[in-house]
């Protein structure tokens, strides 16, 4: 497996991937999304198993992981940024 294939993506519709090792700011990483290989630069440090944005995500846009909505962005998120409790929130209990 390629050295920089540090991101795992479950479904093609996902807009976040998961770091399979610690990734540092600026590092060039790749992820298999279906048949395609996506390359991006980490815009922040992404710790092992934390999420990275695969594309730009607008404030209020849904976060999709394993083909399902896991929350929404609370602020604009740029491709390669760390995605976690500081910039997304749960939609549970909110219609």
């Amino acid at each position: 497996m390629a050295e920089n294939a540090a991101i795992i993506v479950i479904r093609e519709t996902d807009n976040v991937g998961t770091a399979t090792r610690d990734v540092v700011t600026g590092e060039s990483v790749s992820a298999q999304v279906g048949n395609q290989t996506l390359s991006l630069a980490a815009a922040s440090d992404i710790k092992f198993l934390h999420k990275i944005a695969l594309k730009d995500i607008a404030a209020g846009e849904r976060i999709v992981k394993y083909g399902a909505v896991i929350g929404e962005a609370t602020q604009p998120i740029h491709v390669g940024e760390h995605v976690h409790v500081h910039n997304i929130r749960s939609l549970w209990g909110k219609t």
Binding site: I8, T18, F48, L49, Y66, I70, G71, S90, L91, W92
Partner: protein
């Protein structure tokens, strides 16, 4: 490999042949442990209640305790109590006898004290061991297996590796005619629509939703907000951000075959296939419920690691990622972190896990069995009086 097991009088098959010394109340744990020190081949289950409960919880207690002794891994039971508890030794003995297996009972008040109970109890346990030790395994199919599924100390990898692999293993088992029980209603909150969409009928789908919504209502009764506890601190530091993210990862365990039933806590399934048991997400009562339901083997997926085990069933521990597997290897049986590293596909790890389930059913001991780990907790949903 031909699977073999112990056919019990009620028709179910066990994959262990335990003599269980079972307290009917917490007050009897000490004397039960003393009996087991005298008769080390017997096993016990620690019981932390049996008294000071409202009727609703008392009924669940009696039902669960009875069905724990009914689990087909148990060959025979010695019930040990005090005499003043709600579910008395004689009552427990009568309830357990309907499974057709050897059962005896003793109460400390009638036996005349602590030492007398240990003496008499050890002698009865020894008798039961002699009665069941000659039992033979017979060839059986995987259709006799009821697999309990649990996740605990989750991290984000749990939903990407271990739970996905377990879902594949469950598909293999269900295709072979076997059953799997997913519980932890709490962990279905936020994922219930997806789960209900995979129900075998609209009625089962509706019952899945009702079960999850009933649990949410219960939490609201306390004026509590589930999202303050889910994900928990450990989950969040590991990278899980929202309740839905955690739940959607958790429900992967049940696999892709249609869910055939929703059953109450500690109930014995009436159908074969994948099903939901209403239970809490806390490990001990969750697994206790499935074992009372008759699960002979439990697969427990974890990201951070836990030694969790239970005396009467083998608990197979599956780690979600390799660094955690290395840190907690003496508690873990299989590493699903190979999926993260691209060394294995989800299908390959799932197939490897299914093979391990069959080996464990055939007699291979798990790390938890080797450590003598033994947790048990009967779900209590109301007050302690």
């Amino acid at each position: 490999m031909q699977l073999t097991g112990y056919r019990r009088p009620d028709g179910r098959v066990g994959f262990r042949n335990h003599v269980l010394v079972l307290p009917t109340v917490a007050c009897a744990n000490g004397v039960v442990n003393a009996i087991c020190r005298r008769v080390p081949e017997a096993v016990m289950l620690p019981i932390d209640s049996g008294c000071g409960m409202l009727k609703e919880d008392q009924d669940v207690f009696a039902h669960t305790l009875t069905n724990l002794a009914g689990n087909p891994n148990v060959a025979a039971t010695l019930v040990v109590g005090l005499g003043c508890e709600a579910f008395k030794p004689a009552q427990a003995e009568a309830a357990i006898s309907r499974f057709g297996k050897p059962v005896r009972a003793i109460g400390m008040h009638d036996a005349g004290g602590y030492a007398a109970t240990v003496e008499k109890g050890a002698s009865l346990a020894r008798e039961l061991l002699n009665e069941v030790s000659g039992m033979d395994r017979e060839p059986v199919s995987a259709a006799e297996l009821v697999l309990g599924l649990n996740c605990g100390a989750s991290d984000p990898a749990s939903g990407l590796t271990a739970n996905q692999a377990l879902g594949k293993a469950v598909d293999l088992l269900v295709d072979a005619g076997g059953s799997a029980i997913i519980g932890e209603t709490t962990e279905c909150v936020g994922a219930e629509d997806e789960m209900a969409a995979n129900a075998a009928s609209p009625e089962v789908g509706r019952r899945i939703l009702d079960t999850v919504h009933r649990f949410e209502d219960h939490v609201k009764m306390y004026g509590a907000d589930l999202s303050t506890g889910e994900p928990n601190q450990g989950n969040m530091e590991a990278g899980l951000s929202t309740l839905e993210e955690k739940s959607l990862g958790c429900i992967r365990k049940i696999g892709s075959r249609p869910i055939v039933d929703v059953i109450d806590y500690a109930d014995i399934p009436a159908k074969k296939g994948p099903m939901l048991m209403d239970s809490p997400s806390y490990d001990a009562p969750s697994v206790t419920g499935m074992v009372a339901g008759g699960a002979q083997v439990v697969v427990f997926t974890t990201g951070l690691g836990t030694p969790f085990g239970m005396s009467i069933v083998p608990v197979i521990k599956v780690m979600s990622n390799t660094p955690a597997f290395k840190r907690m290897e003496d508690t873990a049986d299989l590493n699903a972190g190979t999926i993260l590293e691209g060394e294995e596909t989800i299908e390959q790890t799932g197939s490897r896990l299914y093979d391990l389930v069959l080996e464990v059913a055939a007699g291979r001991t798990t790390k938890a069995e080797g450590l003598g780990e033994n947790q048990c907790q009967i779900w209590r949903t109301t007050l302690t009086l």
